[in-house]
Protein backbone atom coordinates (compact mmCIF):
# COMPACT_ATOMS: atom_id res chain seq x y z
CA UNK A 1 0.00 0.00 0.00
CA UNK A 2 1.37 3.36 -0.93
CA UNK A 3 1.81 5.57 2.12
CA UNK A 4 1.89 8.89 0.38
CA UNK A 5 0.69 11.77 2.52
CA UNK A 6 0.02 9.45 5.39
CA UNK A 7 1.03 10.98 8.68
CA UNK A 8 3.24 8.23 10.00
CA UNK A 9 3.72 7.68 13.70
CA UNK A 10 7.33 6.70 14.24
CA UNK A 11 8.77 5.36 17.47
CA UNK A 12 12.52 5.72 17.82
CA UNK A 13 13.86 3.05 20.16
CA UNK A 14 17.32 2.86 21.70
CA UNK A 15 17.98 -0.58 23.22
CA UNK A 16 19.37 -1.04 26.69
CA UNK A 17 23.08 -1.29 27.48
CA UNK A 18 24.20 -4.13 29.75
CA UNK A 19 25.90 -3.16 32.96
CA UNK A 20 29.50 -2.58 31.83
CA UNK A 21 32.27 -0.09 32.57
CA UNK A 22 30.80 2.15 29.90
CA UNK A 23 27.22 2.08 31.24
CA UNK A 24 28.09 4.11 34.39
CA UNK A 25 25.04 2.51 35.98
CA UNK A 26 26.48 2.53 39.50
CA UNK A 27 27.42 6.20 39.17
CA UNK A 28 24.38 7.79 37.53
CA UNK A 29 21.92 7.38 40.43
CA UNK A 30 24.09 9.67 42.59
CA UNK A 31 23.24 12.50 40.22
CA UNK A 32 19.64 11.36 39.84
CA UNK A 33 20.33 10.42 36.21
CA UNK A 34 19.41 7.30 34.26
CA UNK A 35 21.84 7.36 31.35
CA UNK A 36 25.08 9.02 30.34
CA UNK A 37 24.20 10.24 26.82
CA UNK A 38 21.13 10.54 24.61
CA UNK A 39 21.00 8.47 21.39
CA UNK A 40 22.45 11.02 19.00
CA UNK A 41 22.06 8.81 15.91
CA UNK A 42 18.30 8.52 16.43
CA UNK A 43 17.99 12.25 17.11
CA UNK A 44 19.77 12.94 13.82
CA UNK A 45 17.58 10.42 12.02
CA UNK A 46 14.49 12.12 13.43
CA UNK A 47 15.53 15.37 11.74
CA UNK A 48 15.79 13.54 8.42
CA UNK A 49 12.27 12.12 8.53
CA UNK A 50 9.39 14.12 7.02
CA UNK A 51 8.33 16.98 9.29
CA UNK A 52 4.70 15.83 9.07
CA UNK A 53 5.50 12.50 10.67
CA UNK A 54 4.88 12.22 14.38
CA UNK A 55 7.94 11.06 16.33
CA UNK A 56 8.53 9.80 19.82
CA UNK A 57 11.70 8.53 21.46
CA UNK A 58 12.03 5.66 23.93
CA UNK A 59 15.55 5.29 25.25
CA UNK A 60 15.34 2.00 27.12
CA UNK A 61 18.26 3.11 29.27
CA UNK A 62 15.97 5.81 30.63
CA UNK A 63 12.59 4.11 30.71
CA UNK A 64 10.92 0.83 29.80
CA UNK A 65 9.50 0.20 26.35
CA UNK A 66 5.79 -0.27 26.99
CA UNK A 67 3.35 -2.25 24.89
CA UNK A 68 1.33 0.95 24.56
CA UNK A 69 4.35 2.60 22.88
CA UNK A 70 4.38 -0.12 20.25
CA UNK A 71 0.60 0.02 19.83
CA UNK A 72 0.86 3.77 19.13
CA UNK A 73 3.51 3.36 16.41
CA UNK A 74 3.11 2.68 12.70
CA UNK A 75 6.78 1.92 12.54
CA UNK A 76 9.73 1.51 14.89
CA UNK A 77 13.26 2.70 14.13
CA UNK A 78 15.95 1.14 16.34
CA UNK A 79 19.67 1.79 16.41
CA UNK A 80 22.21 -0.31 18.29
CA UNK A 81 25.85 -1.04 18.90
CA UNK A 82 27.13 -4.62 19.31
CA UNK A 83 26.94 -4.37 23.07
CA UNK A 84 23.17 -3.66 22.86
CA UNK A 85 22.38 -6.70 20.71
CA UNK A 86 20.43 -8.68 23.35
CA UNK A 87 18.10 -5.79 24.04
CA UNK A 88 17.73 -5.10 20.32
CA UNK A 89 16.70 -8.73 19.78
CA UNK A 90 13.97 -8.28 22.38
CA UNK A 91 12.74 -5.12 20.65
CA UNK A 92 12.58 -6.85 17.25
CA UNK A 93 10.70 -9.83 18.72
CA UNK A 94 8.17 -7.56 20.43
CA UNK A 95 7.58 -5.63 17.21
CA UNK A 96 7.14 -8.87 15.28
CA UNK A 97 4.66 -10.17 17.85
CA UNK A 98 2.57 -7.01 17.44
CA UNK A 99 2.91 -6.69 13.69
CA UNK A 100 4.68 -3.36 13.98
CA UNK A 101 7.24 -2.85 11.25
CA UNK A 102 10.76 -2.26 12.47
CA UNK A 103 13.72 -0.63 10.76
CA UNK A 104 17.16 -1.24 12.27
CA UNK A 105 20.41 0.67 11.81
CA UNK A 106 23.59 1.52 13.69
CA UNK A 107 27.01 -0.13 14.08
CA UNK A 108 25.67 -3.58 15.04
CA UNK A 109 23.74 -3.87 11.80
CA UNK A 110 26.70 -2.55 9.84
CA UNK A 111 28.91 -5.49 10.82
CA UNK A 112 26.36 -8.15 11.77
CA UNK A 113 23.31 -7.75 9.56
CA UNK A 114 22.65 -11.50 9.46
CA UNK A 115 21.68 -11.46 13.16
CA UNK A 116 18.75 -9.13 12.59
CA UNK A 117 17.71 -10.25 9.11
CA UNK A 118 14.13 -10.73 10.34
CA UNK A 119 13.72 -6.99 10.86
CA UNK A 120 11.57 -5.43 8.15
CA UNK A 121 14.12 -2.86 7.02
CA UNK A 122 17.88 -2.84 7.50
CA UNK A 123 20.28 0.09 7.22
CA UNK A 124 23.89 -1.10 7.32
CA UNK A 125 26.39 1.75 7.09
CA UNK A 126 25.58 5.39 7.59
CA UNK A 127 21.90 6.03 7.06
CA UNK A 128 22.10 9.65 5.85
CA UNK A 129 22.58 8.32 2.33
CA UNK A 130 19.85 5.70 2.36
CA UNK A 131 17.02 7.13 4.49
CA UNK A 132 15.77 9.56 1.80
CA UNK A 133 15.59 6.65 -0.66
CA UNK A 134 13.69 4.57 1.90
CA UNK A 135 11.16 7.35 2.52
CA UNK A 136 10.61 7.70 -1.22
CA UNK A 137 10.13 3.93 -1.65
CA UNK A 138 7.80 3.83 1.33
CA UNK A 139 5.65 6.61 -0.08
CA UNK A 140 5.45 4.73 -3.37
CA UNK A 141 4.59 1.51 -1.59
CA UNK A 142 7.73 -0.36 -2.65
CA UNK A 143 10.08 -0.36 0.34
CA UNK A 144 13.08 -2.71 0.10
CA UNK A 145 14.39 -4.99 2.83
CA UNK A 146 17.99 -3.71 2.84
CA UNK A 147 19.23 -0.19 2.23
CA UNK A 148 22.96 -0.45 1.89
CA UNK A 149 25.58 1.80 0.43
CA UNK A 150 29.33 2.02 0.60
CA UNK A 151 29.11 5.78 0.11
CA UNK A 152 30.17 7.80 3.10
CA UNK A 153 27.72 10.66 3.55
CA UNK A 154 28.88 14.22 3.45
CA UNK A 155 28.50 15.46 7.04
CA UNK A 156 28.08 19.02 5.85
CA UNK A 157 24.57 17.91 4.79
CA UNK A 158 23.75 16.35 8.16
CA UNK A 159 20.81 18.06 9.92
CA UNK A 160 20.76 19.47 13.44
CA UNK A 161 19.76 16.64 15.81
CA UNK A 162 16.18 16.81 17.06
CA UNK A 163 16.93 17.60 20.72
CA UNK A 164 13.22 18.24 21.36
CA UNK A 165 12.66 14.46 21.69
CA UNK A 166 15.01 14.15 24.66
CA UNK A 167 13.98 14.29 28.28
CA UNK A 168 17.19 16.02 29.21
CA UNK A 169 16.92 15.77 32.97
CA UNK A 170 17.43 12.01 32.65
CA UNK A 171 20.94 12.33 31.22
CA UNK A 172 24.25 13.28 32.79
CA UNK A 173 25.53 14.70 29.50
CA UNK A 174 24.34 15.83 26.10
CA UNK A 175 26.07 14.88 22.87
CA UNK A 176 26.94 16.40 19.51
CA UNK A 177 29.19 15.23 16.69
CA UNK A 178 31.78 17.09 14.66
CA UNK A 179 33.43 14.34 12.63
CA UNK A 180 33.26 10.68 11.68
CA UNK A 181 36.12 8.33 10.84
CA UNK A 182 39.72 8.08 11.99
CA UNK A 183 42.88 8.29 9.87
CA UNK A 184 44.74 5.63 11.82
CA UNK A 185 44.75 1.92 11.09
CA UNK A 186 44.50 0.00 14.37
CA UNK A 187 44.08 -3.69 13.61
CA UNK A 188 41.30 -4.28 16.16
CA UNK A 189 39.20 -1.22 15.29
CA UNK A 190 35.79 -1.47 13.62
CA UNK A 191 35.34 2.31 13.44
CA UNK A 192 37.60 2.54 10.40
CA UNK A 193 35.72 -0.31 8.75
CA UNK A 194 32.34 1.36 9.26
CA UNK A 195 33.18 5.05 8.99
CA UNK A 196 36.41 4.93 7.00
CA UNK A 197 39.88 6.39 7.43
CA UNK A 198 39.17 9.75 5.84
CA UNK A 199 37.70 11.86 8.64
CA UNK A 200 34.69 13.85 7.47
CA UNK A 201 33.73 16.95 9.40
CA UNK A 202 30.83 19.34 9.68
CA UNK A 203 31.31 23.02 8.88
CA UNK A 204 31.96 25.65 11.53
CA UNK A 205 28.50 27.12 10.85
CA UNK A 206 26.85 23.72 11.41
CA UNK A 207 28.66 23.21 14.69
CA UNK A 208 27.72 26.64 15.99
CA UNK A 209 24.11 26.10 14.91
CA UNK A 210 24.04 22.83 16.85
CA UNK A 211 25.51 24.53 19.90
CA UNK A 212 22.90 27.29 19.55
CA UNK A 213 20.12 24.69 19.31
CA UNK A 214 21.36 22.91 22.41
CA UNK A 215 21.80 26.19 24.26
CA UNK A 216 18.20 27.16 23.48
CA UNK A 217 16.94 23.93 25.09
CA UNK A 218 18.34 25.26 28.36
CA UNK A 219 20.92 22.51 28.75
CA UNK A 220 24.00 23.54 30.72
CA UNK A 221 26.82 21.25 31.79
CA UNK A 222 28.65 18.29 30.27
CA UNK A 223 28.66 17.98 26.50
CA UNK A 224 30.29 15.02 24.79
CA UNK A 225 31.63 15.59 21.28
CA UNK A 226 31.18 11.98 20.25
CA UNK A 227 33.74 11.85 17.44
CA UNK A 228 35.77 8.72 16.76
CA UNK A 229 38.83 10.98 16.85
CA UNK A 230 38.18 14.69 17.30
CA UNK A 231 41.61 15.59 15.85
CA UNK A 232 41.48 13.12 12.93
CA UNK A 233 41.35 16.05 10.53
CA UNK A 234 43.46 18.62 12.34
CA UNK A 235 43.38 20.94 9.40
CA UNK A 236 39.64 21.41 9.83
CA UNK A 237 39.75 21.29 13.64
CA UNK A 238 42.16 24.23 13.58
CA UNK A 239 39.62 26.16 11.55
CA UNK A 240 36.83 25.26 13.97
CA UNK A 241 38.57 26.00 17.26
CA UNK A 242 38.71 29.83 17.12
CA UNK A 243 34.96 29.96 16.42
CA UNK A 244 34.26 27.40 19.12
CA UNK A 245 36.34 29.34 21.68
CA UNK A 246 34.57 32.56 20.77
CA UNK A 247 31.12 30.95 21.00
CA UNK A 248 31.90 29.45 24.39
CA UNK A 249 33.16 32.78 25.72
CA UNK A 250 30.21 34.74 24.34
CA UNK A 251 27.84 32.30 26.08
CA UNK A 252 29.74 32.28 29.38
CA UNK A 253 31.11 28.72 29.02
CA UNK A 254 27.77 26.90 29.27
CA UNK A 255 29.20 23.46 28.49
CA UNK A 256 32.00 21.34 29.86
CA UNK A 257 33.32 19.66 26.75
CA UNK A 258 34.86 16.24 26.48
CA UNK A 259 35.79 14.12 23.52
CA UNK A 260 37.92 11.30 22.13
CA UNK A 261 41.27 11.90 20.44
CA UNK A 262 44.52 10.22 19.47
CA UNK A 263 47.54 10.75 21.68
CA UNK A 264 49.34 12.86 19.09
CA UNK A 265 47.17 15.65 20.51
CA UNK A 266 50.03 16.02 23.00
CA UNK A 267 52.35 17.21 20.20
CA UNK A 268 50.24 20.25 19.34
CA UNK A 269 50.51 23.01 21.93
CA UNK A 270 48.47 25.44 19.89
CA UNK A 271 45.55 23.04 19.61
CA UNK A 272 45.81 22.08 23.28
CA UNK A 273 45.73 25.75 24.19
CA UNK A 274 42.59 26.31 22.15
CA UNK A 275 40.91 23.25 23.66
CA UNK A 276 41.64 24.59 27.12
CA UNK A 277 40.20 27.95 26.14
CA UNK A 278 37.06 26.24 24.80
CA UNK A 279 36.58 24.47 28.16
CA UNK A 280 37.47 20.93 27.15
CA UNK A 281 37.72 19.20 30.51
CA UNK A 282 38.24 15.56 29.66
CA UNK A 283 39.62 13.59 26.73
CA UNK A 284 39.53 9.86 26.08
CA UNK A 285 42.70 8.43 24.53
CA UNK A 286 43.25 4.97 23.07
CA UNK A 287 46.57 4.14 24.74
CA UNK A 288 46.04 0.33 24.69
CA UNK A 289 49.44 -0.77 26.02
CA UNK A 290 52.83 0.52 27.11
CA UNK A 291 54.50 -2.35 25.20
CA UNK A 292 56.03 -1.06 21.96
CA UNK A 293 55.99 -4.49 20.25
CA UNK A 294 52.27 -4.89 20.96
CA UNK A 295 51.58 -1.41 19.60
CA UNK A 296 53.44 -2.27 16.40
CA UNK A 297 51.61 -5.59 16.13
CA UNK A 298 48.26 -3.83 16.32
CA UNK A 299 49.36 -1.17 13.80
CA UNK A 300 49.08 1.63 16.33
CA UNK A 301 52.05 3.58 14.98
CA UNK A 302 50.75 6.84 16.42
CA UNK A 303 51.45 5.56 19.95
CA UNK A 304 54.99 4.35 19.18
CA UNK A 305 58.24 6.30 19.27
CA UNK A 306 57.00 8.53 22.08
CA UNK A 307 57.01 8.70 25.85
CA UNK A 308 53.36 7.89 26.48
CA UNK A 309 53.41 9.01 30.10
CA UNK A 310 54.87 12.41 29.20
CA UNK A 311 52.21 12.77 26.50
CA UNK A 312 49.44 12.09 29.05
CA UNK A 313 50.91 14.54 31.55
CA UNK A 314 51.20 17.19 28.86
CA UNK A 315 47.49 16.90 28.00
CA UNK A 316 46.58 16.97 31.69
CA UNK A 317 48.59 20.17 32.09
CA UNK A 318 46.12 21.84 29.71
CA UNK A 319 43.24 21.28 32.12
CA UNK A 320 41.96 18.05 30.63
CA UNK A 321 41.52 14.96 32.70
CA UNK A 322 42.75 12.00 30.66
CA UNK A 323 40.58 8.93 30.46
CA UNK A 324 42.01 6.04 28.44
CA UNK A 325 41.46 2.60 26.98
CA UNK A 326 43.91 -0.23 27.61
CA UNK A 327 44.02 -3.73 26.16
CA UNK A 328 45.68 -6.97 27.19
CA UNK A 329 45.80 -10.08 25.04
CA UNK A 330 48.00 -9.01 22.13
CA UNK A 331 50.18 -11.76 20.67
CA UNK A 332 53.29 -9.75 21.59
CA UNK A 333 52.31 -9.16 25.21
CA UNK A 334 55.16 -10.27 27.50
CA UNK A 335 54.58 -12.32 30.65
CA UNK A 336 54.84 -9.22 32.86
CA UNK A 337 52.23 -7.27 30.88
CA UNK A 338 49.78 -7.12 33.79
CA UNK A 339 52.21 -5.44 36.17
CA UNK A 340 53.38 -3.13 33.39
CA UNK A 341 49.82 -2.00 32.73
CA UNK A 342 49.24 -1.41 36.45
CA UNK A 343 52.47 0.59 36.74
CA UNK A 344 51.67 2.63 33.65
CA UNK A 345 48.16 3.50 34.78
CA UNK A 346 49.49 4.50 38.21
CA UNK A 347 52.34 6.61 36.87
CA UNK A 348 50.28 8.35 34.20
CA UNK A 349 47.61 9.27 36.79
CA UNK A 350 44.66 8.23 34.66
CA UNK A 351 41.74 7.81 37.05
CA UNK A 352 39.32 6.19 34.62
CA UNK A 353 41.31 3.47 32.87
CA UNK A 354 39.08 1.28 30.75
CA UNK A 355 41.03 -1.96 30.59
CA UNK A 356 39.69 -4.67 28.33
CA UNK A 357 40.63 -8.04 26.95
CA UNK A 358 41.41 -7.89 23.26
CA UNK A 359 38.33 -8.77 21.26
CA UNK A 360 38.09 -9.54 17.56
CA UNK A 361 35.11 -7.56 16.32
CA UNK A 362 33.48 -8.73 13.09
CA UNK A 363 34.87 -7.29 9.85
CA UNK A 364 38.05 -5.91 11.39
CA UNK A 365 41.59 -6.58 10.20
CA UNK A 366 42.17 -8.51 13.43
CA UNK A 367 39.10 -10.67 12.75
CA UNK A 368 40.34 -11.47 9.26
CA UNK A 369 43.85 -12.33 10.43
CA UNK A 370 42.65 -14.59 13.25
CA UNK A 371 40.18 -16.29 10.94
CA UNK A 372 43.02 -17.01 8.51
CA UNK A 373 45.10 -18.37 11.39
CA UNK A 374 42.21 -20.56 12.55
CA UNK A 375 42.09 -18.84 15.96
CA UNK A 376 38.59 -17.36 15.96
CA UNK A 377 36.12 -18.89 18.40
CA UNK A 378 32.97 -16.77 18.28
CA UNK A 379 31.67 -13.31 17.56
CA UNK A 380 32.16 -11.86 21.01
CA UNK A 381 29.88 -9.72 23.11
CA UNK A 382 31.43 -6.31 22.62
CA UNK A 383 31.96 -5.91 26.35
CA UNK A 384 35.78 -6.23 26.30
CA UNK A 385 35.63 -8.61 29.22
CA UNK A 386 36.01 -12.34 29.61
CA UNK A 387 32.94 -13.04 27.52
CA UNK A 388 34.44 -11.24 24.58
CA UNK A 389 37.76 -13.12 24.49
CA UNK A 390 36.64 -14.73 21.28
CA UNK A 391 39.92 -16.09 19.94
CA UNK A 392 42.76 -18.38 20.98
CA UNK A 393 45.36 -16.09 22.57
CA UNK A 394 49.10 -16.74 22.41
CA UNK A 395 49.26 -16.50 26.19
CA UNK A 396 47.56 -19.26 28.14
CA UNK A 397 43.87 -18.32 28.25
CA UNK A 398 43.43 -18.72 32.00
CA UNK A 399 46.67 -16.84 32.72
CA UNK A 400 45.39 -13.99 30.58
CA UNK A 401 41.99 -13.87 32.28
CA UNK A 402 43.53 -14.12 35.76
CA UNK A 403 46.04 -11.38 34.89
CA UNK A 404 43.27 -9.18 33.57
CA UNK A 405 41.32 -9.58 36.78
CA UNK A 406 44.44 -8.76 38.78
CA UNK A 407 44.79 -5.48 36.87
CA UNK A 408 41.17 -4.57 37.50
CA UNK A 409 41.20 -5.47 41.18
CA UNK A 410 44.42 -3.51 41.68
CA UNK A 411 43.63 -0.31 39.82
CA UNK A 412 40.12 -0.01 41.24
CA UNK A 413 41.02 -0.77 44.84
CA UNK A 414 39.99 2.39 46.72
CA UNK A 415 43.53 3.34 47.84
CA UNK A 416 45.01 2.93 44.38
CA UNK A 417 42.13 4.72 42.65
CA UNK A 418 42.00 7.70 45.01
CA UNK A 419 45.77 8.14 44.72
CA UNK A 420 45.44 8.33 40.94
CA UNK A 421 42.63 10.87 41.17
CA UNK A 422 44.73 13.06 43.47
CA UNK A 423 47.69 12.85 41.13
CA UNK A 424 45.46 13.62 38.15
CA UNK A 425 43.95 16.65 39.90
CA UNK A 426 47.42 17.92 40.77
CA UNK A 427 48.52 17.55 37.15
CA UNK A 428 45.40 19.23 35.82
CA UNK A 429 45.62 22.94 35.51
CA UNK A 430 42.31 24.51 36.47
CA UNK A 431 40.89 26.37 33.51
CA UNK A 432 38.88 28.75 35.60
CA UNK A 433 35.59 26.89 35.66
CA UNK A 434 34.67 27.80 39.19
CA UNK A 435 33.53 25.19 41.69
CA UNK A 436 30.44 27.27 42.35
CA UNK A 437 29.48 27.04 38.71
CA UNK A 438 30.24 23.34 38.53
CA UNK A 439 28.22 22.78 41.67
CA UNK A 440 24.82 23.88 40.47
CA UNK A 441 21.77 23.47 42.68
CA UNK A 442 20.79 20.17 41.13
CA UNK A 443 24.10 18.70 42.19
CA UNK A 444 23.67 19.52 45.86
CA UNK A 445 21.31 16.61 46.36
CA UNK A 446 23.79 14.41 44.52
CA UNK A 447 26.55 15.62 46.81
CA UNK A 448 24.59 14.52 49.87
CA UNK A 449 23.87 11.16 48.25
CA UNK A 450 27.62 10.72 47.80
CA UNK A 451 28.31 11.65 51.40
CA UNK A 452 25.75 9.17 52.66
CA UNK A 453 26.65 6.29 50.39
CA UNK A 454 30.42 6.60 50.07
CA UNK A 455 31.02 8.41 53.35
CA UNK A 456 28.80 6.42 55.69
CA UNK A 457 27.74 3.07 54.29
CA UNK A 458 30.50 2.04 51.89
CA UNK A 459 33.18 -0.37 53.12
CA UNK A 460 35.81 2.09 51.87
CA UNK A 461 34.44 5.12 53.72
CA UNK A 462 37.72 5.68 55.58
CA UNK A 463 39.62 5.95 52.31
CA UNK A 464 36.90 8.25 50.92
CA UNK A 465 37.16 10.78 53.76
CA UNK A 466 40.95 10.72 53.70
CA UNK A 467 40.77 11.40 49.95
CA UNK A 468 38.36 14.29 50.36
CA UNK A 469 40.44 15.85 53.13
CA UNK A 470 43.59 15.65 51.00
CA UNK A 471 41.94 17.08 47.91
CA UNK A 472 40.48 19.88 50.01
CA UNK A 473 43.93 20.84 51.19
CA UNK A 474 45.65 20.34 47.83
CA UNK A 475 43.18 21.42 45.13
CA UNK A 476 40.00 22.72 46.71
CA UNK A 477 39.16 24.47 43.45
CA UNK A 478 38.67 21.03 41.95
CA UNK A 479 36.68 19.47 44.79
CA UNK A 480 33.64 19.12 42.52
CA UNK A 481 35.66 17.12 40.01
CA UNK A 482 37.04 15.04 42.87
CA UNK A 483 33.55 14.10 44.08
CA UNK A 484 32.47 13.18 40.55
CA UNK A 485 35.57 11.01 40.13
CA UNK A 486 34.94 9.35 43.51
CA UNK A 487 31.52 8.35 42.21
CA UNK A 488 33.03 7.05 38.97
CA UNK A 489 35.52 5.04 41.02
CA UNK A 490 32.65 3.49 42.94
CA UNK A 491 31.07 2.45 39.63
CA UNK A 492 34.31 0.89 38.37
CA UNK A 493 34.86 -0.92 41.67
CA UNK A 494 31.34 -2.39 41.60
CA UNK A 495 31.70 -3.54 38.00
CA UNK A 496 35.11 -5.03 38.80
CA UNK A 497 33.65 -6.96 41.72
CA UNK A 498 30.93 -8.22 39.42
CA UNK A 499 33.45 -9.39 36.75
CA UNK A 500 35.91 -10.89 39.15
CA UNK A 501 33.24 -12.98 40.81
CA UNK A 502 32.30 -14.54 37.46
Amino acid sequence: MAEQNKKMKVLLVYPEFPNTYWSFKHALPFAGKRSAYPPLGLLTLSSMLPAAWEKRLVDMNVRKLRDSDLEWADMVFASAMIVQQDSLREVIDRCKARNVRIAVGGPFVSTGMEHVADADFLFPGEAETTVPEFIRDLEMGVPQHVYQTDAKPDLTKSPIPDFSLVQMSRYSSMAIQYSRGCPFNCEFCDIIEIYGRVPRTKTNEQMLAELDALYRTGWRGPLFIVDDNFIGNKKNVRLLMPSLCEWMEQHDQPFRLFTEASINLADDDELLGMMKRANFRRVFLGIETPVEESLKETQKGQNTKRNLIESVHKIQSYGMEVMAGFIVGFDSDPADIFQRQIDFIRESAIPMAMVGLLSALPDTQLWRRLEKEGRLLSEGAGTNTEASLNFVPVMDRQTLIDGYKTIMRTIYSPEEYYERVRASLKNTFSSGYSPAKAFKKEYILGFFRVLFKLGMFDSSRKEFWRFLRRVYSERRDLIGDAVVLAVMGYHFRKITEQYCEQ
Binding site: P183, N185, P199, N233, K234, N264, G301, K305, R306
Partner: protein, 99 residues
Protein backbone atom coordinates in the same frame (compact mmCIF):
# COMPACT_ATOMS: atom_id res chain seq x y z
CA UNK B 1 49.37 23.81 8.15
CA UNK B 2 50.74 20.70 6.50
CA UNK B 3 53.35 18.00 6.92
CA UNK B 4 56.67 18.11 5.12
CA UNK B 5 59.07 15.47 3.75
CA UNK B 6 62.67 16.63 4.30
CA UNK B 7 66.09 15.80 2.92
CA UNK B 8 66.43 12.70 5.09
CA UNK B 9 64.10 10.96 2.65
CA UNK B 10 66.37 11.52 -0.36
CA UNK B 11 67.84 8.29 -1.73
CA UNK B 12 65.98 6.24 0.91
CA UNK B 13 62.42 6.58 -0.36
CA UNK B 14 60.70 4.29 2.10
CA UNK B 15 57.00 4.31 1.29
CA UNK B 16 55.44 3.14 4.58
CA UNK B 17 54.22 6.72 5.01
CA UNK B 18 52.39 6.73 1.68
CA UNK B 19 50.77 3.39 2.47
CA UNK B 20 49.15 4.67 5.69
CA UNK B 21 48.10 8.07 4.39
CA UNK B 22 44.27 8.09 4.38
CA UNK B 23 43.99 10.90 1.82
CA UNK B 24 46.68 9.99 -0.75
CA UNK B 25 48.73 13.10 -0.05
CA UNK B 26 52.11 11.61 -1.06
CA UNK B 27 53.65 12.14 -4.47
CA UNK B 28 56.48 10.04 -5.87
CA UNK B 29 59.75 11.17 -7.48
CA UNK B 30 62.58 8.86 -8.50
CA UNK B 31 64.51 9.24 -5.23
CA UNK B 32 62.07 10.74 -2.70
CA UNK B 33 58.49 11.58 -1.81
CA UNK B 34 56.75 14.92 -1.27
CA UNK B 35 53.52 15.78 0.57
CA UNK B 36 50.77 17.74 -1.14
CA UNK B 37 49.82 20.56 1.24
CA UNK B 38 46.33 20.88 -0.23
CA UNK B 39 45.49 17.21 0.27
CA UNK B 40 47.18 16.66 3.65
CA UNK B 41 44.78 16.81 6.62
CA UNK B 42 47.50 17.04 9.30
CA UNK B 43 46.48 13.72 10.80
CA UNK B 44 50.01 12.61 11.83
CA UNK B 45 49.55 9.03 10.59
CA UNK B 46 52.67 9.14 8.40
CA UNK B 47 55.11 10.56 10.95
CA UNK B 48 55.80 7.45 13.07
CA UNK B 49 56.02 5.24 9.97
CA UNK B 50 59.18 6.80 8.54
CA UNK B 51 62.28 4.72 9.44
CA UNK B 52 64.55 7.77 9.04
CA UNK B 53 62.17 10.29 10.66
CA UNK B 54 62.12 12.52 7.62
CA UNK B 55 58.57 13.88 8.11
CA UNK B 56 57.72 16.92 10.23
CA UNK B 57 54.78 19.20 10.86
CA UNK B 58 55.55 22.47 9.07
CA UNK B 59 55.58 24.25 12.43
CA UNK B 60 58.27 21.88 13.60
CA UNK B 61 60.68 21.49 10.69
CA UNK B 62 64.34 21.68 11.87
CA UNK B 63 65.96 24.88 10.73
CA UNK B 64 68.38 23.28 8.25
CA UNK B 65 65.41 21.88 6.30
CA UNK B 66 63.03 24.83 6.70
CA UNK B 67 63.07 25.50 2.93
CA UNK B 68 61.71 21.99 2.32
CA UNK B 69 58.25 23.20 3.31
CA UNK B 70 58.09 25.35 0.20
CA UNK B 71 59.70 22.62 -1.94
CA UNK B 72 56.90 20.21 -0.93
CA UNK B 73 54.21 22.83 -1.59
CA UNK B 74 55.60 23.75 -5.02
CA UNK B 75 56.71 20.37 -6.31
CA UNK B 76 54.31 17.71 -4.98
CA UNK B 77 51.47 18.43 -7.44
CA UNK B 78 53.87 17.93 -10.39
CA UNK B 79 54.41 14.24 -9.65
CA UNK B 80 52.15 11.17 -9.50
CA UNK B 81 50.36 10.15 -6.31
CA UNK B 82 51.65 7.10 -4.46
CA UNK B 83 49.38 5.27 -2.00
CA UNK B 84 50.93 1.79 -1.85
CA UNK B 85 54.07 0.45 -0.27
CA UNK B 86 56.80 -0.42 -2.76
CA UNK B 87 60.36 -1.60 -2.03
CA UNK B 88 62.50 1.22 -0.65
CA UNK B 89 65.09 2.75 -2.96
CA UNK B 90 67.75 2.57 -0.26
CA UNK B 91 70.45 4.17 -2.42
CA UNK B 92 74.06 4.81 -1.39
CA UNK B 93 73.23 8.05 0.45
CA UNK B 94 70.57 6.41 2.60
CA UNK B 95 71.53 5.78 6.21
CA UNK B 96 68.28 4.04 7.12
CA UNK B 97 67.77 0.33 7.81
CA UNK B 98 67.44 -2.28 5.05
CA UNK B 99 63.85 -3.44 4.63
Amino acid sequence: MTYVVTELCVDCKYTDCAAVCPVEAFHELSDRLYINADTCIDCDACVPECPVEAIFADSNVPEQWAHWTQINIDEAPNYPVISQKIPALHGPACTGPEE
